[in-house]
C-alpha cells in the first residue's frame, strides 16, 4: 500500500512535469517542470534503495544544472514573445513525419515481440542497498578505466571553458 503510493505519486508527478516542460509557454515554467520531474525521479530512486544515486540526482541535476538554466533564462530575459513562425521551412511537417515513423516503429516492436503489459511483477528477494561504499567499490575497481577517461574529459572541458572566458588581449592591455 505504502509502496504503491510511493510509486504512483512521484510517477504521476514525473509525467505532469514532463508535460509542463513541453507545453508551458513561459521558459521559467518549463524549467520548473523539469525540476519537478528530476526531484520526483529522485524519490523513485529512494524507493528502489538507491539513496546515493537519488542524492546525486538532487544535488547535480535539480541543484546545480537547473539553477544555472534558470539563471541564464533570467539573464537573457523572458519577456520576448515566443517565435510563432518556423525558422526552418517545413520544420513542422518534417518533425511530425519523423515522430510518426518512430511511434510506428515502437508499436511494431511492442506487438511483434512477446511483450506483456503485466506491470505487477513479484518483489525480488535480492535486496541490494545502493550505499556509497558499494558504488565506490565498483567505480574504483571494475570501472576505473571509464572513470579516469571521464575525468580527463571533464578537465579538458573545464580548461576549454576557462580559455574561452579568459580575454587575453584585455588582460595584456590592462597590465
Amino acid at each position: 500500500m505504502v509502496e504503491a503510493l510511493l510509486f504512483f505519486a512521484p510517477a504521476s508527478l514525473i509525467i505532469i512535469g514532463a508535460l509542463i516542460v513541453i507545453f508551458a509557454r513561459n521558459p521559467v515554467h518549463n524549467a520548473m517542470g523539469l525540476v519537478m520531474t528530476l526531484v520526483s525521479l529522485a524519490i523513485i530512486y529512494i524507493t528502489l534503495n538507491a539513496t546515493f544515486v537519488a542524492m546525486v540526482q538532487m544535488l547535480v541535476y535539480a541543484g546545480a544544472v537547473m539553477t544555472l538554466f534558470l539563471f541564464v533564462i533570467m539573464m537573457i530575459g523572458v519577456d520576448k514573445k515566443e517565435q510563432s513562425t518556423d525558422s526552418i521551412k517545413g520544420q513542422t511537417y518534417l518533425v511530425s513525419g519523423v515522430f510518426l515513423i518512430l511511434i510506428s516503429l515502437l508499436a511494431y516492436v511492442a506487438v511483434s515481440s512477446d511483450f506483456k503489459w503485466d506491470l505487477w511483477f513479484a518483489p525480488t528477494e535480492n535486496n541490494i542497498e545502493g550505499t556509497p561504499q558499494l558504488i565506490a567499490g565498483f567505480l574504483f575497481t571494475e570501472w576505473i578505466f571509464p572513470f579516469e577517461i571521464i575525468s580527463i574529459l571533464l578537465i579538458v572541458a573545464t580548461a576549454a571553458a576557462i580559455a574561452l572566458a579568459y580575454d587575453i588581449k584585455k588582460r595584456n592591455s590592462n597590465a
Binding site: 541543484g63 546545480a64 534558470l70
Partner: protein
Amino acid sequence: MSTELIIALVKASLILGVLLTNTILLIWLERKLVAGMQSRVGPDRAGPFGILQTVADAIKLLLKEQIMPLKADRAMYLLAPILALVPSFLIFMIIPLGPDLNIEVSGKDYIVDFVGADLNVGVLYFLALSSIAVYSVVLAGWSSGSKYPLLGGVRASAQMISYEAAMGLSLVPVILYSGSLSLVDIVSSQSGNLSTSIPILSSIVSFIPKWNIFPQFIAFGIFFIAAVAEVNRAPFDLVEAEQELVGGFHTEYSGFRFAMFFLAEYINMFNMCAITATFFLGGWLGPTFENFLPPVLSAIMPIIWLGVKTFSLLFIFVWIRATLPRLRYDQLMELGWKRLIPASLVWLILSAIVLGFREFGLPWS
C-alpha cells in the same frame, strides 16, 4: 497503525514544534543582542524582557492584507515561499540529537534513535536540500515582476551556487576523517579524547575532546564562512541589501508569505549552526553527569549540549552581523572563487595525504 509509524509521526511533529519555538526565541535573542552591541534597549514591552515580541509580530503579519503585484507570475509567486520553508524543515531531520533510547510499548522493546532519519548519505542530503533552497530566492525575485526583486534574485543565485561549492568541498576532509556520510556516525567518530604519538604532548592533549574542529580547523573556518554566505546573512546579505535593493527578493511579499520567508531564514540559520556543531564540535557529545543528576536530567543532557554548542555558534552569527560591514559584490565573488575554493581544495589534498600515511604508511616502505 504500526508502532514504528507512530514513533516517526511523533518525531516529525516534535521537530516541527522545536523548530518553531526555537525561531521565536532566536529572533528575540538576535534583536536583544544586536541592541546591546549598539547601545540600545531592544524589544522590552511584550512579556518579560520583551520575549513575546516575536509572537506579537507573527500575529500582526498573519492578520495583514496580502498584496500581489499585477505583473506577478501567479503560480511561481505562490510557490516561492513554500519552497523556502520546506527544505529548511527537512534539513533538521538528519541532525542527531542524542544517543539511542530504549522504550517499551505494550510489552515490546523499541530502540528509538534520537534523530529524524539516520541516512547513510546524510551529508549529501544536506547539500542537496540546501541547493533546492536556492530556487525559492530565484523564483521569488523573478516572479514578482519588479526590478529590485529580480536583481536580488540574480545576485542570490550566483552567490549561493558559488558558496555551495566551497561548503561542499570543505566537508569532504571531514568525511574522510570520520569515514562515513551518515551524521550519526560522524558524531560517534568524535567521541573520546585526542591522542598523539609524541610523548611530551600526549598528557596535555588527552584532556581535549576528539572533535573534528581541532584536526580540521581550516575546514571549519571555510565551512563557517560559506554557511554565513549560504543563508544570506550579513556581511554576505547582498541579496537583500536595503540601501541598494529596497528589500531584495522579498520586496513584493507581504503578510503571511513574507513571514514564511522570514521564518525560513531563521530556521536555516539554526540548521546551519546545528550542522556545524554536528560536523566540527562533536554534536550532542558531552558529559552527562550520570552520578550527580537524576536519570531524567542526564538523559536530556545530550540535547542540552547540542543546544549550548548551537547557540554559541548563533551568537557568533549575530556578532558578525552587528560588527562587520557588507561586502561589495566583486569582493564577495573573489572571496568565494579565488580564496575559499582553492583553500578548501589544498586542505582536502593535505588531509588526504596525512590520512593516507596513517592508514598505509610511507609509499616506499
